[in-house]
């Protein structure tokens, strides 16, 4: 298996950007509604289609604005598998994937921009970049917003800002978030304590994959909770400030862990490497847990010969829908476990740095 037959290139998965060792991606999402329609909660199928047609026209203007080539896809035209792939790549929400009646998504060619049409709000403009690049993602998202706004009338109020379906998004409509990999804090049993303090500073934390029941891959998503009052830049600065603190804590937790139990850490990392490069069949949960250990080992230079981006890529490609997309057919659980193991072996082999080959 060489390139990604069947799975579209997604920019954030390629890694890179500042603090990319700990921050997998930065996302800016803007919630917007059109003035003349009820919110999606009360939107009929015909009105929903009207909005999609309206956005089809806007798609051409977006392509002309130099942010890439944009395509509008209707949920109804996508197979359930293709929709799940978009969910696993963090381009649409699970809720949106189920909305065949009025749902659509506009994507640019490197998938750094996605606009959900008729999700909880009429428009959810998202920009997703690798590493800690919230200001950069905001610059892109606000440009997309400006292009759209030149062609539609937004529901906006001087006092309350952008009017959103849920009052928790009111005002700026912005949700800035970072996906952070925090194995050090989890191993040091500090993650729970730290993350539960988030509410006090106006932040929210979620897991990478909502459907799981544990800290899958030690990846957490941290975002702003407040949207009304401060400006977008202030909210982003707050989140960046908080993320930097979290990263400092993670780095010192890793250092302490390595200092106090170097053999234990090395053993954990090498066992993960051994299993990942040899396992013949592997479940999604085991894969993600071991991949997190592998990445920790790469970051701590225990495994300096493996390129780190393999983690970002594999935590998404080993998910059920992406795997089936790669295989080009539906697979049962056993077949998925076999393919997952093969994919991991091949991708890690491909991620070995040239100097050691």
């Amino acid at each position: 298996m060489t390139a990604n037959p069947g799975v579209q290139r997604v920019r954030w998965m390629e890694g890179g950007g500042p603090a990319a060792d700990l921050v997998l991606s930065s996302r800016i999402r803007l919630a917007r509604n059109l003035e003349d329609y009820p919110f999606p909660t009360l939107l009929g199928p015909e009105q929903g289609q009207e909005i999609i047609r309206l956005m089809e026209g806007v798609t051409e203007h977006l392509s002309a604005a130099g942010l890439g080539r944009f395509t509008l896809l209707r949920m109804a035209d996508l197979s359930p598998l293709d929709r799940r792939v978009l969910v696993e790549q963090h381009l649409i929400s699970p809720q949106h994937a189920r909305n065949a009646a009025t749902g659509a998504v506009i994507l640019n060619d490197d998938r750094s921009i996605s606009i959900m049409v008729n999700e909880e709000d009429h428009l959810r403009i998202q920009c997703l970049l690798g590493g800690l690049q919230l200001h950069e993602a905001w610059a892109v998202a606000t440009r997309v917003d400006d292009v759209i706004e030149a062609h539609v009338r937004y529901a906006f109020d001087d006092e309350r800002g952008y009017l959103t379906t849920c009052p928790t998004n009111l005002g700026t409509g912005i949700r800035a978030s970072v996906m952070v990999h925090l194995p050090g804090l989890v191993l040091a049993r500090q993650a729970g304590r730290l993350l539960s303090q988030l509410g006090k500073v106006g932040m929210v934390v979620r897991g990478l994959y909502g459907e799981g029941t544990e800290a899958l891959g030690n990846v957490f998503q941290v975002s702003n909770q407040i949207t009304l009052g401060p400006s977008e830049e202030e909210l982003i600065d707050n989140l960046i400030g908080f993320t930097r603190q979290l990263l400092d804590q993670e780095r010192s937790a890793r250092e302490r862990l390595y200092r106090e139990n170097e053999d234990g850490v090395k053993d954990r990392v090498m066992r993960a490497y051994g299993l990942l490069t040899n396992a013949w069949t592997i479940s999604s949960e085991e894969a993600i847990r071991l991949l997190s250990d592998l990445r920790l080992g790469i970051d701590l230079n225990v495994l300096s010969h493996v390129r780190p981006e393999v983690f970002n890529e594999l935590i998404v490609l080993t998910r059920p829908a992406c795997l089936q997309k790669l295989a080009g057919k539906e697979l049962d659980a056993r077949e998925r476990d076999l393919l997952r193991a093969r994919l991991i072996r091949e991708r890690i082999a491909a991620a070995l740095r040239k100097t050691t080959q």
């Binding site: 509604n33 003349d36 309206l54 906006f156 928790t168 005002g171």
Partner: protein
């Protein structure tokens, strides 16, 4: 409401779980919730909406008052909003203003937007400011008895007022991207319920 687990402290975390159509609710205090935090972080049910609905639930006044309040444009009942945390249209913000303000204060801390303004609204704000300046200049011109200047300013003000009335800044007449049906495409009360 007391915590389901310890039965001693006040429940501040409200969880609703729907598994295979079966709904269960749990109400925990912050202390007991901490022991279950891994569940909250990774279950989609623990969303901001649930938090909001939890807040609203605690705030609901007795039935027969605010409960029966409806949005005059989309018909959404306040009761429904309190259950889901989702509004029906932009007009709900006006019709539920009184009820929403304390909730907004609680979840957002502030109630005045301080961020980006769409350029269309921006030009409306600019027109307003321009108008204020012209009116001040008119008052000065009258005070100085410069009637020719005052007449010129008066005409300028009238022109500007007309532009404001025509809704400039909101592309008054349907702009290139205005919905095909125009504002009439979403007549009050015709939106089907969820």
């Amino acid at each position: 409401m007391l915590c389901d687990e310890c039965g001693q402290r006040k429940a501040t975390v409200h969880l609703t779980q729907i598994i295979n159509g079966k709904k269960t609710e749990r109400h925990l205090c912050a202390h007991c919730a901490q022991r279950h935090e891994h569940e909250f972080f990774f279950e989609p049910q623990f969303s901001i909406h649930n938090l909001l609905a939890g807040l609203l639930e605690g705030w609901q006044p007795p039935a027969g008052t605010v409960q029966d309040l409806r949005c005059s444009r989309c018909g959404l009942r306040y009761r429904e909003f309190a259950r889901t945390g989702l509004l029906g249209c932009s007009h709900c913000y006006d019709d539920f203003r009184q009820q929403l303000e304390p909730v907004l204060r609680r979840i957002q801390g502030q109630v005045r937007h301080g961020g980006k303004v769409p350029s269309r609204a921006g030009s409306r704000v600019q027109l307003g400011r321009q108008l204020e300046q012209l009116r001040a200049r008119l008052r000065e011109a009258v005070a100085r008895e410069e009637y020719e200047e005052a007449a010129r300013l008066r005409d300028q003000i009238r022109q500007l007022e007309q532009r404001v009335r025509a809704g400039e800044g909101w592309a008054g007449t349907a702009g290139p991207g205005a919905p095909p049906g125009g504002p009439g495409s979403a007549p009050p009360g015709t939106a089907p319920g969820r």
